[in-house]
């Protein structure tokens, strides 16, 4: 496997780049066998689409035709989007734990700020210039962390021992990017026809049946290889974009969720040896409006969805507190209310799965978070 894949940056401007995994000291092994992979879906995953409530009149009224057809039932209350086939199987084996109505402690509607808040692990977008995964690495003896990104994201920045590896050039074009570009190109008389042809030929816009597993799966396969190595890192971070579904959401999410599902499957298959010691946390910066908007999509909202997956996860059930979708239950009358702070989820994972001490969690990894009780019983 080729480990170095930095693109254009010269050595001076580059973050740490893996050429050979540096290896951890022997002292790092032992209790540190647990692995945590954080997957950030940038753009705001519509949790109500990925995990639709069943037989919910309010949901049917709000979403109408946008509600996914043929969702796969999980329990009496919720179902999984049909694209999440592998995840559905994990649920049946007790290895998938969806957590509803969750979000970082940020209530505005900017992607950037919400992501900063999620990544810096504080109560606000400007609360810290370093990331909680990095601070977690610093708190874990020998707990090096790996960012599978071309550049170091905020969540990985800071004094802790982290490194990065960048996946190959993206071949797939982000469908949301394409969607936004279409009207811009349509307005350029010299480029409109060629661009429209490109979209037709390359078969993107709304290609739900696209067989390609996508870039996320490729990156998660790489994560599996790194994390499964005997002296590999214990913490890893993967990100993906294309989740900001203001229009044509059904087709975009059918594809994106299939990519996520393929990613989980690749990790499961490629990291079989450590699957039982793995927890994967799939999170997003916020949820979306409860009601469908005027362009068959949804706008920025609040309460989102997290998915925990892995052999170490105590799944087969739905986590979190469901506030419901009745008009009076909605936040500002428009979004699913967030009832759980994402930090509670992260703290719970770090405490039980990685055994980060409570004091480190409350002071260094998630500063000033004593009031946010770790979720219990997520793993083990």
């Amino acid at each position: 496997m080729k480990l170095s894949r930095r693109l254009f940056l010269g050595a001076a401007g580059a973050a740490t780049v893996l050429t050979v995994w540096p290896g951890l000291s022997a002292a790092a092994a032992g209790d540190g066998d647990a692995r945590l992979l954080v997957v950030l879906l940038r753009g705001g995953l519509d949790g109500l689409h990925a995990l639709p409530p069943r037989d919910d009149a309010a949901y049917a009224r709000l979403r109408g035709a946008l509600a996914p057809q043929n969702a796969r039932p999980l329990n009496a209350d919720f179902a999984l989007h049909p694209s999440l086939e592998f995840a559905h199987g994990l649920y049946g084996r007790g290895q998938l734990l969806p957590i509803v109505a969750i979000a970082p402690p940020y209530r505005q509607r900017s992607h950037f700020e919400a992501q900063d808040c999620l990544e810096n692990g504080t109560a606000s977008a400007s609360g810290a210039a370093t990331g909680w995964l990095n601070r977690c690495a610093a708190a874990l003896r020998g707990g090096e962390a790996l960012s599978l990104t071309a550049v170091t994201p905020l969540i990985m920045r800071g004094p802790g021992a982290t490194t990065s590896w960048s996946p190959p050039l993206p071949e797939d074009v982000d469908p949301v990017l394409l969607q936004r570009l279409q009207p811009l190109y349509a307005a350029d008389p010299q480029l409109s026809a060629a661009f429209a042809r490109a979209v037709d030929t390359q078969g993107l816009a709304g290609t739900a049946g696209n067989a390609r597993s996508g870039r996320l799966a490729q990156t998660m396969a790489a994560a599996a290889q790194f994390l499964a190595a005997p002296d590999g890192p214990r913490l890893a971070f993967v990100e993906d974009s294309g989740w900001d579904t203001h229009g044509n959401q059904a087709a975009v999410l059918a594809r994106k969720l299939a990519e996520l599902d393929a990613g989980l499957r690749r990790y499961h298959d490629d990291a079989a040896a450590i699957w039982n010691r793995t927890a994967i946390a799939v999170v997003s910066e916020f949820g979306r409006t409860a009601a469908v908007n005027g362009t068959a999509g949804t706008d920025h909202g609040t309460g989102g969805l997290a998915l925990l997956a892995g052999g170490a996860v105590r799944g087969g059930r739905i986590g979190g507190d469901w506030p419901g979708l009745s008009p009076s239950a909605l936040n500002d009358g428009r979004d699913l209310r967030a009832t759980t702070d994402l930090r509670a989820l992260f703290k719970g994972l770090l405490a039980t799965h990685l055994r980060v001490s409570e004091s480190a969690l409350e002071t260094r990894v998630f500063p000033d978070s004593r009031a946010i009780a770790p979720m219990i019983g997520l793993t083990g």
């Binding site: 940038r42 993206p170 074009v173 990017l177 936004r180 307005a187 060629a194 661009f195």
Partner: protein, 471 residues
């Protein structure tokens, strides 16, 4: 308020705005362009690289070692392949070239370098020329950017890159001493020396007339091609043994023995004396020929203003060319002073090289010392550096570059490029402001505002139709 002309000066005349550049140029875009006509500010950035003469010496050493290894029966493996031996040199040349272009504040100067480099296109696909393409640009083109075209032309036509790419090093005059000796040897059936055909090669002479000076409709004949080819017989590079002895002190060697002496007639003029000066005199005349003035003025206007440049503009540049005896700085100044160059409809579709460079500059991305991924990206987009399919160089018209597949690859490239932008907080709106000032359309701005992350915003900017144009 940044004037529209400033945005054009930096993005259309230059290689694209880097953060802060529009403000630095301010309200005198013409003054900013003209200030660059005084010399190559980036010349020192190349000072530590080997010269073509160094490369010729190393290459001669390589062939000597390989020959010795073969003689000793060591086979192929004893000596690295040419690519192994010199691959690193070529990567370093490429890297330096892109690092300079990505960083130089004198974007107009860098664009002129690339314009002339493409005008005098040579391809690294041809082994004999492969080490010399980038050196030709920095040794023959950069020093003559603002001088007389005759000097630029002569420097290029006597550079080992061009002499080898268009086969002039193998061209031998039929009545030269070298050819006569070769005929005598053949007559004696001298088996000791390998028999090799010697004679005239017209390749370089034809391209000088068709591409480098008069243009395909410039009024020259086949006889002119042959005569010019004869005049420049002997223009070559030092022999391996001269290089080994350390005797050579230039990468250019006039091989008098291969030169065909005598009177030459080229494009209606008679050139009495033979020798090296004859070829130089012909090039000097070709450089100021009215057809050359028209041909080059058209190419310059097309490159900087529009695919179909206004005829009045071309005529004005050609007049400046002839009035000044082909003084390039005078011609560029005429371009800068022409109202047509600043019209609202003046715009050019970026070539892949333009696109990538402008994205590097906007994003503050500095390419690596050995930029394999960057060159790979350019290759996938159809414009690998120094690898045109013909001596005509890469096309300079939108139709060549804006097909469906090409646009698709740009969107993919936009994703790659934004991932390479340095990790300091990227702000797409700030980058857009740095590139376009307030000239970006409202729809694109609104798309940037809605981007999922700063990085996807930067991708959006790079992939947007507005960014595909030098306008």
């Amino acid at each position: 308020m940044i004037p529209r002309e400033t945005v054009s000066a930096v993005n259309r005349f230059g290689l694209g705005a880097a953060p802060g550049q529009l403000a630095a140029v301010g309200s005198d875009p013409r003054g900013w362009l003209k200030a660059q006509l005084r010399g190559d500010a980036a010349a020192s950035r190349y000072a530590d690289l080997p010269s073509s003469l160094d490369y010729l010496r190393r290459e001669a050493g390589y062939y000597r070692e390989r020959q010795a290894a073969r003689r000793d029966g060591d086979g192929k493996d004893a000596v690295d392949s040419f690519r192994q031996r010199f691959g690193d040199d070529q990567w370093r040349e490429q890297g330096r070239r892109y690092r300079v272009a990505a960083a130089n504040a004198d974007g107009f100067a860098e664009r002129l370098v690339r314009f002339w480099s493409n005008h005098f296109a040579i391809s690294v696909d041809k082994r004999a020329a492969s080490l010399y393409a980038a050196p030709m640009e920095r040794e023959a083109i950069r020093p003559h950017l603002y001088g007389r075209y005759a000097d630029l032309l002569t420097a290029v036509e006597s550079h080992p890159g061009m002499l080898r790419y268009l086969d002039n090093v193998r061209s031998v005059g039929a009545d030269s001493r070298y050819a006569r000796r070769a005929r005598q040897r053949m007559a004696r059936a001298d088996r000791q020396r390998p028999r090799r055909e010697v004679g005239l090669n017209e390749n370089l002479a034809r391209e000088i007339l068709e591409l480098h000076t008069l243009g395909v409709d410039g009024g020259y004949s086949q006889a002119d091609v042959t005569e010019l080819a004869r005049a420049i017989t002997g223009w070559g590079v030092p022999l391996p043994r001269e290089l080994a002895d350390g005797g050579a002190d230039s990468a250019f060697a006039f091989r008098a023995a291969a030169h065909e002496s005598g009177v030459r007639n080229v494009v209606g003029r008679r050139y009495a004396q033979g020798g090296l000066e004859q070829g130089r005199a012909i090039l000097a005349d070709l450089a100021v020929h009215p057809a050359t003035a028209r041909h080059l003025s058209y190419k310059l206007a097309r490159h900087f203003v529009a695919d179909t440049p206004p005829p009045a503009l071309v005529a004005r540049l050609a007049a400046a060319w002839q009035r000044s005896g082909g003084d390039l700085a005078t011609v560029y100044a005429a371009l800068i002073d022409s109202p047509e160059a600043w019209g609202a409809d003046a715009r050019k579709f970026k070539t892949p090289d333009d696109f990538v460079l402008s994205a590097l500059r906007a994003g503050g991305i500095v390419p690596g010392e050995r930029p394999r991924a960057l060159v790979g990206l350019l290759a996938r987009m159809g414009q690998p550096p120094f690898t045109p399919r013909s001596p005509a160089g890469y096309a300079d018209e939108a139709a060549e570059w804006n097909g469906a597949d090409a646009l698709w690859k740009r969107v993919q490239a936009a994703q790659s490029l934004s991932e390479s932008a340095p990790e300091a907080r990227i702000e797409p709106l700030a980058v857009a402001q740095a590139v376009f000032a307030d000239r970006l359309d409202a729809d694109t701005l609104s798309a940037l505002r809605r981007a999922e992350s700063p990085r996807s915003g930067l991708t959006m900017l790079y992939a947007s139709p507005a960014f595909q144009w030098r306008s």
